[in-house]
């Protein structure tokens, strides 16, 4: 097995004047759950489409399980599962007929995995797919994707629009199977609590570029939050190194920074006239939000 199951080299995809993926160099290690996070339009879905070969790079290249993505063999396609946010399925067929069809395509079909995962969801085999609720359809889709025993499973915002219970079932089913199977899961989501629960690795994309590729804890370690009292004086934002965000609440400046150590940053703030500097705890959600918000467009 190769060390990296997914690799991209200066991967670029443009649509007219818009660059969806911008000279992306990315390597995803085999195994584990890799969460892909980014704001809307960051290029996540385009990246998945490039990886699955349904879009062609404008320049650069991508490799999936050692094979160029523009020319994936049927063998590699059989090893890569894909679940999208719409849970696209043949709605005109019954659940059992869809399962029967999938079995024909996938030689490594694991019926016991399907049975176990579908057990999390209340799905009647005789029912038409069109009649399933969104949660049931998501569960059915995940069950089939996992039963294919994929080496890579790409989940593109699979819990979008699911209620709390369905989301819970989905995540449990996913985590349970990850333990059973040594597959690589690419999990794209905007829900940080989900990412926090399942992810071994956090990939952040912004405007088509790679901003982070590390364990979530390591990423959180890089983010610091401070409450600073400047005794009513304004904060010179340009003078603060690694500043991600700064808000004035009740006369105190709430500052979030990137890659700043406690001692040196405290010293720097004191030089700027800070009267009191208090470090605060940072969650993955707030860390990612602050990180992504830095370059978020705001009206002039």
């Amino acid at each position: 097995m190769t060390k990296h199951c997914i690799e991209t080299f200066q991967l670029t995809k443009t649509f007219g004047n818009k660059t969806a993926v911008n000279q992306l160099d990315l390597a995803i290690k085999t195994g584990g759950i890799h969460a892909f996070v980014g704001s809307n339009g960051a290029g996540k879905s385009t990246l998945f489409r490039l990886l699955l070969g349904v879009a062609t790079p404008t320049s650069g290249s991508a490799v999936l399980l050692g094979q160029d993505c523009t020319n994936l063999s049927t063998e590699v396609r059989g090893k890569v599962g894909y679940v999208n946010e719409e849970h696209t399925l043949p709605t005109w067929m019954s659940v059992e007929k869809v399962v029967a069809m999938q079995k024909h395509f996938y030689q490594n079909w694991e019926q016991n995995i399907y049975d176990r995962v579908i057990g999390y969801f209340d799905v009647d085999p005789k029912q038409k797919v069109a009649g399933l609720s969104r949660g049931e359809r998501a569960g059915f889709n995940l069950s089939m994707a996992l039963a294919q025993s994929p080496e890579i499973l790409i989940l593109d915002e699979p819990t979008l629009g699911l209620d709390v219970v369905a989301k819970q079932s989905f995540l449990e089913a996913l985590m349970f199977t990850e333990i059973e199977n040594d597959s690589t899961i690419i999990y794209c989501s905007h829900q940080m609590e989900e990412v926090e629960r399942v992810a071994d690795n956090l990939v952040i994309l912004e405007k088509g570029r790679l901003m982070n590729n590390s364990a979530p804890d390591e990423f959180v370690e890089r983010i610091r939050s401070w409450v600073v009292d400047f005794d009513g004086k304004p904060l010179d934002k340009n003078a603060v190194d690694g500043l991600l965000s700064a808000k004035l609440i009740d006369g105190q400046h709430h500052i979030v920074t990137l890659d700043q150590t406690d001692a040196s940053f405290r010293q720097a703030l004191n030089k700027l006239g800070a009267k009191d500097v208090q470090p605060m705890g940072v969650t993955l959600n707030s860390a990612v939000n602050a990180f992504l918000a830095k370059n978020h467009n705001v009206p002039a």
Binding site: F9, Q10, A27, V54, T56, N84
Partner: protein, 621 residues
């Protein structure tokens, strides 16, 4: 693959069966009103248009439903090759088309064949096959419109023109083009069905398969757009268009004159007593238009849609007489009882099909005229149903044959042969007890193939025949001639004129040739091969043609532009040598339509070439 095909079939099966039931109901309803197998040209066209419209819609819809972003990924991202996925979808589509469109026809034919005395022959069943094949062809074009990255693919609908405009007398030659085109389209669809649908086809064979029919479509489009925008529209705006400002001594100028005044213009330079007499008489004469259009006579085993007239119907005996292509005789069926009442061969009535001899069988399929007449290329027959007899009313000899059918005018019946215009007396034509001879037999002044139109002026002492056409004196030599036919039958040449001026410049008159001489020649030769005698030019005829120098010059210039244009395209898109060779060759043959095809079958924006992956470029943050 089968599982996928089954899934696709299940998706649309209810629609297919519903359409089949609806069509059966329509057929049953139509059969109550008139014989189902009697189709006029308009009815056939309506059926064809409905079938092809539905097939095109289904072809587009089927792939468009799959093409939606997530649906496409779901479809193609599975461990079977794209070609197999496509054939699964296409196979299901073809079966559904057959159920929806072919099966109702087949059931209707079988029903008529088994439960009625209606003549249902192999050609009727073959027609169903032909219709289904064409529906499949259009369905595949619909698929390709969605699958191929180029929007110009819609131009492939021009293939229907190639199939339907020339109607070959050979069944094989009717089926061969459509079947070949189906295989060609299957290949193109298979190649276009790739995970990334935005990729353009690059294989030389695919390019050739796509370019030739597309060039054919763009050829016509080019002519329409360029002549309209560069010539007609500016001239209309400037108020100098020849249609509004007719030029003297052009063919167009004759429409400035009323029929009664036209001889005066045609005979302007003929200063003879006869011409002056004709001019004066024509002013008071009644004028008839005599058709010289080549009439497509029915052919043995032709597909039934070409049945221009269904049967002779005798009201008194309430019987209907249909021609059997299988037995080459007319078979009578009583409309009251539905039973067979006899057979009519070329020697007369016969009791039953079993008693028909070789001499009774017609050698060619006759064309049925009205209630009691029918004709072949050389004979006109009349049936006397009361006395159960058949008379050979009139025969042509010595290589002469009818090019049209008799047209009834107030005082006479006119029919054109390849050598003469024959005028018959109306009452004799209808008299069941006598043969007829033409009262007038006027020889054509030019070959029947260049005959365009004839006006007949009824004079006090005979007829004045006015022949005119755009090729009257040869290729690109319009003209008119007048002949006086005395009551005695003697024919005298009165005079004529060649129109040496032209309303439009040569590049407009010969636009199709100018834009692509090869396509122009190929179309003529192919269509003439498939259906001779209807005006297309053979290779030998093409060799005899001399185009005006202006048309030839413009054609050469456009060819050079195409050649340099395609070189620029190849460089711009950094094409591989095989692609360059293909496009240059195509443009050298096809001319400007070839260049347009090259532009449409390549992306408008130039794609950057992906770099080669290297381990050094890896970077993990």
């Amino acid at each position: 693959m089968f599982e996928l095909a089954r899934s696709e079939f299940i998706r649309y099966q209810k629609w297919a069966f519903a359409i089949a039931v609806l069509l059966l109901a329509i057929f049953a309803f139509v059969n109550k009103i008139k014989p189902l197998l009697e189709n006029s040209v308009a009815q056939s066209a309506l059926v064809n248009l409905s079938y092809f419209g539905a097939s095109l819609l289904f072809g587009v819809l089927q792939m468009a439903m799959h093409k939606r972003t997530n649906h496409w990924t779901y479809l193609v991202h599975r461990p079977i090759s794209p070609a197999k996925i496509y054939f699964a979808l296409c196979g299901a589509g073809v079966v559904l088309l057959f159920i929806a469109l072919g099966l109702p026809w087949l059931i209707a034919m079988l029903g008529l064949d088994i439960f009625s005395e209606t003549l249902v022959e192999t050609r009727h069943y073959l027609h169903v096959a032909f219709l289904v094949f064409n529906a499949i062809l259009v369905f595949l074009i619909g698929n390709l419109i969605v699958l191929n990255a180029s929007y110009a693919i819609v131009g492939l609908l021009i293939l229907l023109v190639i199939i339907y405009v020339p109607i070959s007398s050979s069944i094989l030659m009717q089926f061969l083009p459509v079947i070949s085109l189906i295989f060609g389209l299957l290949y193109l669809n298979m190649k276009s069905f790739q995970p990334d649908l935005s990729r353009y086809l690059k294989q030389p064979f695919s390019l050739v398969l796509l370019s030739i029919p597309l060039s054919f479509a763009l050829w016509f489009l080019l002519l329409m757009i360029s002549t309209t925008s560069l010539y007609h529209l500016p001239k209309f705006i400037a108020g100098t268009h020849p249609d509004n400002n007719p030029v003297d001594n052009t063919y167009r100028y004759i429409w400035q004159y009323d029929e009664s005044e036209l001889p005066e213009y045609i005979l302007q330079d003929v200063n003879t007593p006869l011409a002056n007499n004709m001019i004066q008489q024509a002013k008071l004469a009644k004028v008839d238009y005599i058709s010289t259009d080549f009439w497509p006579f029915p052919r043995k085993n032709q597909l039934y849609v070409d049945d221009l007239q269904y049967a002779l119907t005798h009201k008194k005996t309430h019987s209907m007489w249909q021609f059997s292509h299988k037995d080459m005789v007319l078979v009578g069926v009583s409309k009251s009882t539905g039973k067979r009442v006899g057979v009519l061969g070329q020697q007369g009535f016969v009791e039953s099909l079993e008693k028909v001899t070789a001499q009774d069988r017609f050698k060619t399929v006759p064309f049925l005229l009205g209630e009691s007449h029918f004709m072949t290329r050389t004979k006109i027959y009349q049936v006397n149903f009361n006395e159960k007899s058949l008379s050979n009313k009139f025969s042509l000899t010595q290589g002469e044959f009818f090019i049209g059918i008799p047209k009834i005018h107030d005082n006479y019946i006119a029919v054109a042969t390849n050598q003469h215009i024959l005028l018959f007396d109306r009452s004799s034509y209808r008299d069941e007890y006598q043969q007829i001879q033409p009262d007038y037999r006027v020889p054509h002044p030019v070959s029947y193939e260049t005959l365009n139109a004839i006006n007949a002026y009824k004079l006090a002492d005979g007829y004045l025949f006015h022949y005119f056409g755009t090729r009257h004196f040869g290729f690109d030599r319009p003209g008119a001639q007048m002949f006086y036919v005395k009551l005695s039958g003697e024919t005298l040449y009165v005079g004529g004129r060649e129109f040496t001026s032209f309303s439009h410049p040569a590049w407009i008159r010969h636009g199709l040739f100018v834009f692509s001489p090869v396509l122009w020649g190929a179309q003529n030769i192919l269509f003439d091969y498939l259906e001779p005698d209807i005006g297309w030019l053979s290779y030998a005829e093409i060799r005899e043609i001399n185009f005006p120098q202006q048309a030839i010059t413009v054609a050469i210039v456009l060819h050079l532009i195409s050649f340099f244009g395609v070189i620029i395209m190849c460089r711009r898109h950094r094409m591989a040598p095989a692609q360059v060779a293909t496009w240059v060759s195509l443009c050298l043959f096809l001319g400007l339509p070839g260049l347009l095809t090259c532009i449409f079958l390549n992306p408008l924006r130039v794609e950057k070439k992906p770099i080669t992956p290297s381990a050094e470029s890896l970077a993990v943050i």
